[in-house]
Symmetry: C2
């Protein structure tokens, strides 16, 4: 964690824990493996003030960058991208996961032109797979992807994978930030405190 880790970020981490967006226990992940930590960022949709804080944390990372459009990756990053779009008047586009067979049959929704630059927004990156897929589709549609803003980097290779594709990845928080901050906050019940200590040991060694 940076020595100048902001109070705003520490407060955000505690708020995310308090609303159940960061959970410790035993969770079955998409890959089938069991994890002692589960990030359920969808919870933030029920807390407009937290959604605003998350959006502003991401905005601070990219406000000096150049881009024409933003694209949130469904579902959780959609409200985050919407919040940034509304707050800073930036046109948004959306990528559907599957092609429609009817109507105008577009996979990228919204208005865009060949050669425009698009910022990608994601809530959590693990391997970076969803981000890569989205970037592929945008690039196949003539858009340019240079930067990706994520709320949480799980530090499981995603950043490196995306950087290998020459993208710049801005992460507001890492999993280490979250674990360290919660450990220091003194709010964890004993059982969870033990899980987090163990996780941090694994991450830092």
């Amino acid at each position: 964690m940076n020595s100048v880790f902001s109070v705003q970020k520490s407060q955000l981490i505690v708020e995310l824990y308090n609303i159940g967006a960061v959970k410790f226990g035993e969770f079955k992940l998409k890959s089938g493996i069991t994890s002692p930590i589960y990030l359920d960022l969808r919870q933030i949709i029920s807390y407009p003030s937290i959604l605003r804080t998350v959006s502003e944390c991401l905005w601070e990372l990219v406000c000096h960058s150049q881009f024409d459009l933003i694209c949130g990756i469904p579902y959780t990053a959609l409200p985050i991208a919407t919040s940034i779009s509304l707050q800073h008047n930036i046109p948004m586009i959306m990528r559907r996961k599957e092609k429609k067979s009817y109507g105008t049959q577009q996979q990228i929704e919204g208005a865009f032109k060949h050669g425009q630059t698009c910022l990608l927004i994601e809530d959590v990156i693990t391997s970076g797979g969803s981000v890569s897929e989205t970037a592929d589709d945008l690039e196949n549609n003539g858009l340019i992807v240079k930067e990706i803003a994520v709320l949480i980097d799980r530090e499981q290779g995603g950043k490196k994978n995306l950087e290998a594709r020459h993208y710049t990845v801005h992460a507001a928080l890492t999993l280490t930030d979250i674990l360290t901050s919660l450990l220091n906050s003194g709010i964890l019940p004993k059982a969870e405190h033990t899980i987090v200590q163990q996780l941090l040991h694994e991450y830092l060694t």
Copy 2:
């Protein structure tokens, strides 16, 4: 169309047409049939000021109603619901179309309690099927649905179907409003003017 049809709504209709959210021509719909009109409200995500206007039009319809939560129906109504949530500090929930097999395995995302009342937000209703499905799921999860706010009622039975289920449906615009307003605006090319005249004739007789 109401005689007191607001200038704001007339302007919104012209803006929706100008950004391609209302199209005339030949379009294959979800049902397989071909329609001379296609409503592609997803376009609004690329125009933050229009998204704000749409959200405010819906808000005006329900600002005196009582509800604890709002739920936008994916995809287009998600940014509309997000905008209302952020602007008026109302907790949002989301309904996934399919159950996840991993993680916390919830179909309704976000924080909610048994007995809370939820306002549904939709961009366009045709038969009201998507709204009904969402309402079923929310009710199966202990939530109470009373009111539905939609931007456009296609006047193809959706309102009646939903009212038969004892829901109150508030529509900011009807398809007749849109056709009449565009016909009077003088901005339609000749071919489209003819299509719209014919459509209105079918709708009004």
